[in-house]
Amino acid sequence: MSKDQELLESLATSEYEYGFSTNIEMEMAPKGLNEDTIRYISAKKNEPEWLLEWRLKALNRFLEMEMPHWQNFDLPEIDFQDISYYAAPKKKQLNSLDEVDPELLETFEKLGIPLNEQKILSGVAVDVVFDSVSVATTFKEKLAEKGVIFCSFGEAVQNHPDLVKKYLGTVVPVSDNIFAALNSAVFSDGSFAYIPKGVRCPMELSTYFRINAMNSGQFERTLIVADDASYVSYLEGCTAPMRDENQLHAAVVEIIALDDAEVKYSTVQNWYPGDKEGKGGVYNFVTKRGICKGNNSKISWTQVETGSAITWKYPGVILKGDNSSGEFYSVAMTRNHQQADTGTKMIHLGKNTKSRIISKGISAGKSHNSYRGLVSIGPNADNARNFTQCDSLLIGDRCGAHTFPYIEGKNSTAIIEHEATTSKIAEDQIFYLNQRGLDTEKAVALIVNGYAREVLNNLPMEFAVEAQKLLAISLDGSVG
């Protein structure tokens, strides 16, 4: 067997490192989706009437909608009635980390994200979403000092209903797409962040999601509002335990940036991708969108996608305010039977708006990796500017890399550039590194790392480390 083949073999067989599940007592809603489920969730969370009505409206829209079929992967039949829409660990009301289930802490330990240590070392406030309900929130006081609100969505509904009511569903309307409608109807919890005027958030906000309970889809809802001239960097990272049954994750993230505000949103996603036969794995169907509502505002998405059986999301930015800018940096790695159809939407409405898209796809094994992006320049977006680069790297001859950019120009002063390349790692590059004493495996890892560097550089420090680790695991032993 040639070296290459050996590498491919080991790549295909390297197992999911974070595969374990935690035995914590769960409180579950009965399976099925109907008005009663929604009333149950709403009642459990002690929600006000308007939110219940909003959920019910979303449910009606959901029931009217059909599954899309334009996507570039095989969408398995999803039985929405066979999902439990609410799961929460029974223990609640924790005041300090010491009260957190030691098993949960251990879980995080295994992930290399010990809460305690992180708290001390990195100064990151961690809002732990374990399945659906927040169990611990740290650094709250420090944030409160600055007036920053960072809490679970449920708490926000109770304590800051005006803010939630004002912004909920304004970026991703309930009828946006079928999964957004589903989320709007059944979302169980999530995170809420509000940065007041002129405040630079003193620390990076971060949430760790984990899907844990068998058969419970996770429907998170994140809402971030950055008021005038504020700044926040928000991190979201996730790993999920090994499961044989497919799990559906349909989250919605909404970001609102007002005048001069800046929001940086980073994701590392490493959910269970299924085994090497393509069995199991998480369906990651997420709607993420930000709006640069005010002038001179900025939203930046950075994502590292290595997990999930199917990743299907297009984090986008609506550039409404004049001089606003949007960025999208993405590394998507697929292997075995993973499928990814991801990209971004940049919708230029305001004058002098700028967007930049850098997408790096890596496909190995029998996986398929698609970039699908929209760049739309409206007639009033004078001097709008877009630059898009999407590269694909192919490892192995049974994988696919696809590019579907949609470019729409309606303004005669706008400039749009798009370029894409697809290739494999050049033999001469590997040969060069071999000559300098690196074996092929290391050479490939080095090249892939360099290939993804432009994106990884945009991640906050701690995340960059984890992201590199994830890429390394994916390439481990491994790749090429």
Partner: protein
């Protein structure tokens, strides 16, 4: 389920089908009536494709097909020789889809041209009808198969090297009422042959015309085929073309697709299937749209076998309220290792009311490939404009010069001088239209 357009024209067509079939049974072979039957069933079910279909997302046929189109009866044009008179070429005139022998020149040695009757009688060609372009789910193709009235064949013999280009002049006439014209051609370039085909499209009369043209081409082993399309129809014409080309081992195909005329609407579906290895495919395209013109170019280069090269360059300029669509697909199948595929689309968008939709698309299933695409939308270079102005050239003249230079990139690659001059003339004329706002 895709939702089609079921308008008056659809009703007219579905109503007319049975009668046409009955008439066709008397003159046409049985296999053809069967084929038409099957195609009609598909069309009747799906209707005219609407914007709900991904392929027609940016082109709304409903807008263009709102007239009361009837099958075209007229046959005689007022004049032929509408273009390229100075070109040394054998001319074939096709009026409303029908071969007009009395207006055409004799065919050069090494080639044969067959009209409908002769083509259907010759099993070599008749059996190919609908097999090159055979996609059971394409309603526009089905529309043509069900209703085409004329079918002509151009055959290039094996090893024939025909120096003199063949010029097919397609003329559409519509003096009286809104006309629907559906017809198809088949080109078979046999082994090791080499030939040049120039196709120009013209129209006469001012009544609305809907042209549905299908062209099937087969380029055999080692053949070299140069094909040029110059679309110069009037603004009353809605022109829909589906061209399906199969290339075999070591064949070379050069295609240029020039839309610098006044056409109201042009939709080209150009599909190139690279069925064997060692082929080369070069595609060029240029469009200049003004007023409310709509030009939609869909191209597909389907790399099925290893060691094939393809390159594609489309450039266009948009003024006024026009719209241009470019969708360039490149497929690289699993077996197509060592593929080189290159594609580029550049647009000059010069009006806030114009819209450009560019969708370069790569679908790659093999790893040892070099594929890239690029797409830009922009304006004239300010520095270049300034440079020209600084040298005493007025803003408008400078703008025209830059636009000419932009398209020149394409036109300069046309190797036949007379044809190149003709396209440059078209461009020049278009750039000097009154009311054209420049810069």
């Amino acid at each position: 389920m895709e939702k089609g357009i079921f308008n008056n024209f659809y009703t007219y067509l579905t109503g007319a089908f049975a009668g046409r079939q009955q008439a066709a049974r008397l003159t046409e072979p049985g296999w053809l009536t069967e084929k038409r039957e099957a195609a009609f069933a598909l069309f009747a079910e799906k209707g005219i494709p609407s914007r709900k279909s991904e392929e027609w997302r940016f082109t709304n046929l409903e807008k263009f097909l709102s007239h009361e189109f009837k099958f075209q009866q007229e046959v005689i044009p007022e004049r032929s020789g509408l273009a390229l008179e100075e070109l040394e070429a054998s001319r074939i005139v096709i009026v409303n889809g029908r071969f007009a022998a009395d207006l055409s020149d004799p065919i050069p040695d090494g080639m044969t041209f067959l009209d409908t009757k002769a083509a259907l009688a010759d099993a070599r060609f008749a059996e190919k009808l609908g097999t090159v372009a055979d996609f059971p789910d394409n309603p526009m193709l089905a529309l043509n198969t069900a209703f085409f009235s004329e079918f002509s064949v151009l055959h290039i013999e094996a090893k024939a090297v025909v120096e003199k280009p063949l010029h097919i002049e397609h003329i559409y006439t519509s003096h009286a009422s809104a006309a629907f014209i559906a017809y198809r051609t088949l080109v078979v370039a046999e082994k090791l042959s080499e030939a040049t085909l120039i196709e120009t499209f013209h129209s006469e009369g001012g009544a609305p015309v809907f042209v549905d043209f299908v062209s099937e081409q087969q380029v055999d082993e080692g053949a070299v085929f140069h094909s040029h399309m110059i679309n110069n129809v009037g603004e009353n014409v809605c022109f829909v073309q589906h061209r399906e080309v199969c290339q075999f081992r070591n064949s070379v195909l050069n295609n240029s697709n020039i839309s610098l005329g006044d056409a109201g609407m042009i939709r080209n579906d150009l599909n190139f299937r690279l069925k064997e290895s060692g082929t080369e495919t070069n595609l060029l395209g240029a469009y200049l749209v003004t007023g409310e013109q709509h030009v939609d170019n869909h191209t597909l280069v389907d790399h099925q076998m290893p060691h094939c090269n393809s390159s594609e360059l489309y450039k266009g300029i948009l003024h006024d309220k026009s719209r241009a669509v470019f969708n360039g697909k490149v497929f690289v199948r699993q077996d197509a290792q060592k593929t080189n595929a290159f594609q580029q689309n550049n647009n000059l968008l010069l009006s806030n009311q114009a819209t450009v939709n560019s969708k370069p698309q790569l679908e790659i299933f093999a790893d040892d490939v070099k594929c890239s695409h690029g797409s830009t939308v922009g304006q004239m270079n300010k520095d270049a404009l300034f440079y020209l102005k600084a040298r005493g050239i007025g803003e408008e003249t400078a703008g025209r010069l830059l636009m000419q230079a932009f398209v020149f990139d394409i036109l300069s690659r046309i190797e036949i001088p007379e044809l190149r001059d003709f396209t440059e003339e078209l461009l020049h004329k278009k750039l000097h239209t009154e009311n054209l706002v420049i810069a």
